[in-house]
Amino acid sequence: MTAYREVVVRTPLALKILPIVSVATFFIAWEIVVRTGVVPDTMLAAPTTVTQLLFDKFTNMDPDGALLHQHAWVSIQEAFGGYFLALAVGLPLGLAMGWFNVAEGLARPIFEIIRPIPPVAWIPLTIFWFGIGLPGKIFIIWLGGLVPCVINAYVGVKMTNPTLIQMARTYGASDWQIFRQLCIPSALPMVFGALQIALACCWTNLVAAELLAADAGLGFMITMGRRLAMPEMVVLGMFMVGLTGAFIGVIIDRVEKRLLAGIRR
């Protein structure tokens, strides 16, 4: 049995202090640039103005018609709706395409036709079909998340060690047994990779969809900020999009680690 030794890596002092310095400098410089009028406040809002609006937006519906957390909640709902649908359809489809010739033969050409069209290009059609409510946006997000799910699952199955497949065949394993017992476990690391990639795709497409067709959500808030010529609302919207995205990313990361730990150590 091999003994593994923990390697202790210490963070150098420079890497502890400099990040704080750089972030502080960034915000202070931003504030100064706006306050002194180097950049006019019609083009960019100072961090303090944005922070003010941030607290204000928790209680004040005006001028965009919803509170900040309501916007965020709408966005999260849409993102997760599309995301889970993408996982539910994309992963089984990609896994099957990787192993079963019938699945690959039927689904691959259609997938290859749809893949190069950016999901955002579907927005006008989805407005015809669904209007600007939740279903249309879920459809766009679903399309965006589908692609990495299918590709990762497909590649994961294709990477199954061929000797393992031969081994199973000599024991008389059926195609289905090999798929279930060898291909799926082999593909799991790639599938887990897809969880993060798909989420990033979903979130990007969500904001794009909300910018163009929405009546609520963080992307909508950004658009309203532009229409009302309120740079502080634009910046707040951008900031919230980043924050919420990072927050969901952390959650998925946790879930992924939990799942991986359950499967192998």
Partner: protein, 251 residues
């Protein structure tokens, strides 16, 4: 060369030929193996030993000729074939015990039987202590032992082994060869064992098939009728080993 005490042939290979395009690898090979026999195959590198086992196990289609097991064409779904590959084949997401169980699970043996047999086999090869470890936690030689145990666990009609101990050091090799012979004697399987190592072939087998260079034929057949456990120093052992070496010198 048939032993009188062995009534029937387990495996019959008739005029087996294998080409890869223009390249003739196996040239009209015929031989038979009796039930419960341990046959070693030695041959030069690249002569088609792996190809030979792959056709026997139906992983590759033969270009012509036939392989019969118990009188019917070999078929992994019907016959009980086990194959220990040259490279390790542990499933990294299964523990040692689950890895050894894999073949039996594929064949749909009842859970109770699987567990009983696992206890027996793991005990026999001394893997009981590490039964719950994962393959990345054990050494490469142990991984090969898992493959061997898994192969024996399904009680195979035909056990194919492709240089399973090729990468191991001499001492461990002796140990595992003894283990292999023990398993074979207790479980009474029919074994085809490929090796580069002539001493190993003489040590484990009852009969040695010497292959020629490509296009490959069976060049000679040497019977090893020595009592077990065998002794490397025994003059008869040395004589057989040198005889096989002489045959091989003309490769």
């Amino acid at each position: 060369m048939q032993n009188a005490a062995r009534p029937r042939n387990k495996i019959e290979v008739c005029n087996l030929t294998k080409r890869f395009g223009e390249l003739l690898v196996l040239n009209d090979i015929s031989f038979s193996v009796a039930e419960g026999e341990f046959v070693a195959i030695v041959g030069p590198t690249g002569c088609g030993k792996t190809t030979f086992l792959n056709t026997l196990s139906c992983l590759l289609p033969a270009s012509s000729g036939q392989i019969l097991i118990d009188g019917t064409p070999a078929n992994p779904k019907r016959h009980n074939i086990s194959y220990v590959f040259q490279e390790p084949t542990c499933l990294p997401w299964r523990t040692v015990r689950e890895n050894v169980a894999y073949g039996m699970e594929v064949k749909g043996r009842p859970r109770k039987e699987i567990d009983e047999r696992l206890d027996h086999i793991l005990d026999m090869v001394g893997l009981t202590q590490c039964a719950n470890l994962y393959p990345n936690q054990i050494s490469a030689s142990m991984q090969q032992r898992i493959a061997v145990s898994r192969a024996f666990a399904v009680d195979p009609d035909l056990l194919l082994m492709d240089e399973p101990y090729g990468q191991l050091d001499v001492k461990l090799r002796f140990y595992l060869e003894d283990e292999l012979v023990n398993l074979w004697r207790k479980l009474k399987s029919t074994v085809l064992f490929i090796t580069h190592n002539i001493e190993e072939a003489v040590y484990v087998s009852e009969r040695i098939l010497v292959l020629s260079n490509k296009p490959t034929r069976i060049k000679a057949e040497v019977k090893v009728d020595l009592p077990r456990p065998r002794d490397f120093m025994d003059p008869e052992f040395v004589r057989i080993r040198e005889h096989v070496t002489d045959l091989i010198r003309w490769w």
